[in-house]
């Protein structure tokens, strides 16, 4: 059976060229960047190269790239590190109501230490309205965090506008963006957008798992959360993941090579699926239209069918998708994003996510639609009574 992988927002296939490069760095150029000998120098050079590549993409300085273990660590560092550094300036943190758990749970954690966390509501389209930020931006705000692209619906947030407002009304505050679903899909120059901190994860754009980075604008006040041998200028101790960093940079380079054509292709696939789904009975699409949606994500609700059952039915045809917010763990819990959007309760457990990458084809979409068309009537006959 042919595998149709439509869960690229959960993770992507590591590019074979990247995997080969990582293998070489792991078995041949295996040095520790801290070693004084030749092997160490060689490894350090690889990391410097990687930073150069990433900095070119972000139009920033290589010193502004901090390697981490991935999106979750980057978000944790951005939020906890900012709170630690600015705790004497203020205690208010603003996040959107649709953040990934890596942001939302970290902010919750800080409430235990006296920080006040404010959640920005979203419209029915899942998008934050800048006016609502304006209402809560007081001078004691130390951090505003808003994702670039929502992982569940693909909704694109007005981060530039929110960043501008933040810097105008709360000059002490840092502006953080979780760009895990956006990097590799959009050309992002954080410096020009007013972004101080930005989280990126490698495995979302065909890079290896277990590595990511946090963009930290020069001069941003932030404290480390991991201490030890003082690696990466003391911001994140721990032997540097040389193959990971280099592999991620190579994957980024490949992603940004001809980005516009690739995204146009993916957008066309998503639209093909959207149109096909809307022809099926009782299907609603939760992903916004046009420029408000990221190219690769489509969220849809199948009334009367449990998401998990639909997922396994498609799985039987070799099609991999995601049920609701299942990308964070395998625990079925109602999606905070959909709740914040005001999606009715019965629809929460009937919502699935399709997500694309450059490797998907029109046949993938057509076969998925055919499988749905064939299986939906059967699945709808048997619902809990």
């Amino acid at each position: 059976m042919r595998e149709i992988y439509l869960d690229n927002a959960a993770t992507t296939r590591t590019d074979p060229e990247v995997a080969a490069f990582i293998e070489r760095l792991s078995t041949e150029e295996y040095g520790n960047t801290s070693s004084l000998h030749l092997k160490g120098v060689e490894a350090e050079k690889r990391v410097r190269e990687a930073s150069r590549i990433l900095a070119d993409i972000l139009k920033c300085s290589p010193q502004e790239i901090l390697y981490t273990s991935g999106g979750t660590e980057s978000d944790n560092l951005a939020i906890i590190g900012t709170a630690l550094a600015k705790r004497r300036t203020g205690n208010r943190i603003i996040i959107s109501a649709v953040e990934h758990a890596a942001v939302a749970r970290t902010a919750d954690f800080l409430t235990e230490f006296g920080f006040d966390v404010v959640r920005l509501p979203v419209g029915p389209d899942g998008i934050v309205r800048p006016e609502s930020l304006q209402e809560v931006l007081t001078p004691d705000v130390i951090l505003v965090s808003c994702m670039y692209v929502n992982s569940e619906t693909g909704a694109v947030q007005p981060v530039a506008e929110l960043a501008k407002l933040t810097h105008e009304m709360a000059p002490q505050a840092s502006f953080h963006v979780d760009a895990v679903q956006a990097f590799g899909k959009y050309r992002i120059a954080p410096g020009r957008l007013g972004i101080d901190l930005m989280s990126v994860s490698s495995h979302k754009f065909h890079g290896p798992k277990g590595v990511g980075f946090l963009y930290i604008k020069k001069g941003t006040k932030i404290r480390p959360v991991i201490y030890g041998g003082g690696h990466q200028s003391g911001m994140r101790s721990g032997t540097e993941n040389v193959p990971g960093a280099a592999g991620m940079a190579m994957a980024a380079k490949i992603a940004y090579d001809g980005l516009e054509e690739k995204m146009a292709k993916i957008t066309a696939l998503r639209e093909r699926l959207r149109e096909g789904l809307l022809e099926l009975p009782d299907v609603t699409v939760n992903t916004p239209e046009g420029e408000f949606a990221a190219p690769h994500v489509l969220s849809a609700t199948f009334a009367g069918v449990r998401a998990e059952v639909l997922l396994h039915a498609l799985e039987a045809d070799g099609i991999c998708i995601s049920a609701g917010s299942a990308c964070s763990s395998n625990k079925p819990s109602p999606s905070a994003t959909l709740i914040a959007m005001g999606v009715p309760e019965e629809a929460l457990s009937s919502t699935v996510r399709f997500s694309f990458c450059k490797e998907n084809t029109e046949e993938d979409v057509d076969e998925t639609l055919a499988s749905l068309k064939r299986q939906l009537p059967m699945l709808r006959r048997f619902v809990r009574k």
């Binding site: 998990e308 059952v309 639909l310 997922l311 396994h312 039915a313 799985e315 039987a316 395998n330 625990k331 079925p332 699945l379 006959r381 048997f382 809990r384 009574k385």
Partner: protein
């Protein structure tokens, strides 16, 4: 101290009369199975109505842990060996051993046995003489022949003398395989693995059956059941798990029978299938994790309704257990953490909002007639297409 020999004491086997050797042989086999995956050299042998384990190059904690999962073992006694049976040698070894393993100043007695009747001292003489030596050499020890804290056992056998004072409790029960084989209906829940464990403890070998309903139940739910079977196999030995595809039958019941009877009819179908697979594989009974009144399908009328469809005896070892008592055992045998993983099984997917709690047998039988034209074929197919997964003991 490195022990080279262990005396394995068993409890109930001792009263089995002429069949005793059957149980002893089963126990020897189970002990061999249990030590097989461990690094080291092991020999298990039976002599003079006792079972011994010789061991070298092994890890003590790992060995004891493995033996504590072998049903039929009452006590595990690590022994010290003295090759030359001269009294002075025994006396030296006994005092050195007690100094190491016994708290200072406790009461003791010595019990001696000799299977070598040519030994120059009688058992009583030997015990008394050793007692005296110990009183002299081990500081603070006092004799108490009625309620001693420690009993030093001395066994004079062909080729040497063995000493032991420590008795590490085993799991009790009877060796698996000494009481035939039964089929466990294994779901992903907390109860059924415990039921399997308890019946295995009575010496019954376990086969298992799981009802899978794709796409309503996931691959992960199936993997969870395999994991549970492997956990139970740590006690019961390798378990062949039959995975029955139950979707068609479940959908047929759903379409054609009243919804408040869904669960009962589904369970009756499960029992029918389980019994057929059990017959095919030489099982003598079925095992379920039911407990009176726990859920609607486990009231006495419901149990009567599910019981009706099979001729084989159905063992329900948890029948009088409270949920908390079941959880205690599940935690002890290490199945609890796996059982509470949140994957739906086919019992939870199709459950009615208000299932019957007092099913009427006539009414259930009548509802089942709606399936008459298809059900035989479906049951046959379910039995024939069952996938057997061999579940080896989890490490």
């Amino acid at each position: 101290m490195v022990y080279e020999e262990f005396l394995i004491k068993y409890a109930e086997i001792g009263i089995k009369g002429k069949n005793r050797y059957v149980f002893e042989d089963a126990l020897v086999r189970q002990i061999r199975q249990a030590v097989k995956p461990l690094p080291g050299e092991f020999t298990v042998f039976k002599t003079n109505g006792r079972i011994y384990l010789k061991a070298s190059g092994y890890d003590y904690e790992d060995l004891i842990e493995a033996l504590q999962r072998v049903f039929g073992i009452a006590y595990i006694c690590p022994m010290v060996r003295v090759d030359d049976p001269a009294f002075e040698n025994i006396a030296d070894a006994a005092s050195a051993y007690l100094k190491e393993v016994v708290p200072e100043g406790c009461t003791f007695k010595v019990e001696a046995r000799r299977s070598v009747k040519s030994y120059p001292m009688h058992s009583m003489e030997l015990a008394a003489a050793l007692g005296e030596v110990i009183l002299q050499r081990v500081p603070g020890m006092r004799v108490d022949v009625h309620h001693p804290v420690v009993t030093l056992h001395v066994e004079v056998r062909e080729g040497g003398v063995s000493l032991y004072a420590k008795e590490i409790p085993g799991p009790g029960g009877m060796p698996v395989g000494s009481n035939g084989k039964s089929m466990l209906l294994l779901s992903g829940g907390i109860d059924s693995p415990v039921a399997g464990y308890m019946i295995a403890k009575r010496g019954v070998k376990i086969d298992a059956v799981y009802f899978h309903a794709p796409p309503y139940t996931s691959e992960r739910a199936k993997q969870k059941v395999v994991d549970l079977a492997c956990q139970v196999a740590r006690y019961a030995g390798p378990i062949p798990l039959s995975v029955v595809n139950f979707t068609d039958i479940q959908l047929a019941i759903y379409e054609k029978c009243p919804h408040d009877q869904l669960t009962i009819i589904m369970r009756r179908m499960m029992m029918r299938i389980a019994e057929r697979i059990a017959e095919n594989s030489g099982c003598l009974g079925l095992i379920t994790g039911e407990s009176i009144g726990q859920v609607a399908s486990q009231t006495i009328p419901s149990l009567t309704a599910t019981n009706e469809v099979c001729a084989m005896p159905v063992f329900r070892p948890l029948i009088g257990f409270d949920k908390n008592e079941i959880i205690d055992v599940a935690q002890k045998i290490g199945t609890f953490e796996t059982s509470i993983q949140p994957y739906e099984d086919c019992c939870t997917i199709f459950v009615a909002k208000h299932p019957v709690t007092k099913p009427n047998l006539k009414s259930i039988r009548k509802s089942e007639t709606h399936l008459d034209d298809v059900i035989e074929e479906m049951l046959d197919k379910a039995v024939e297409t069952a996938e057997v997964i061999w579940c080896e003991p989890a490490p």
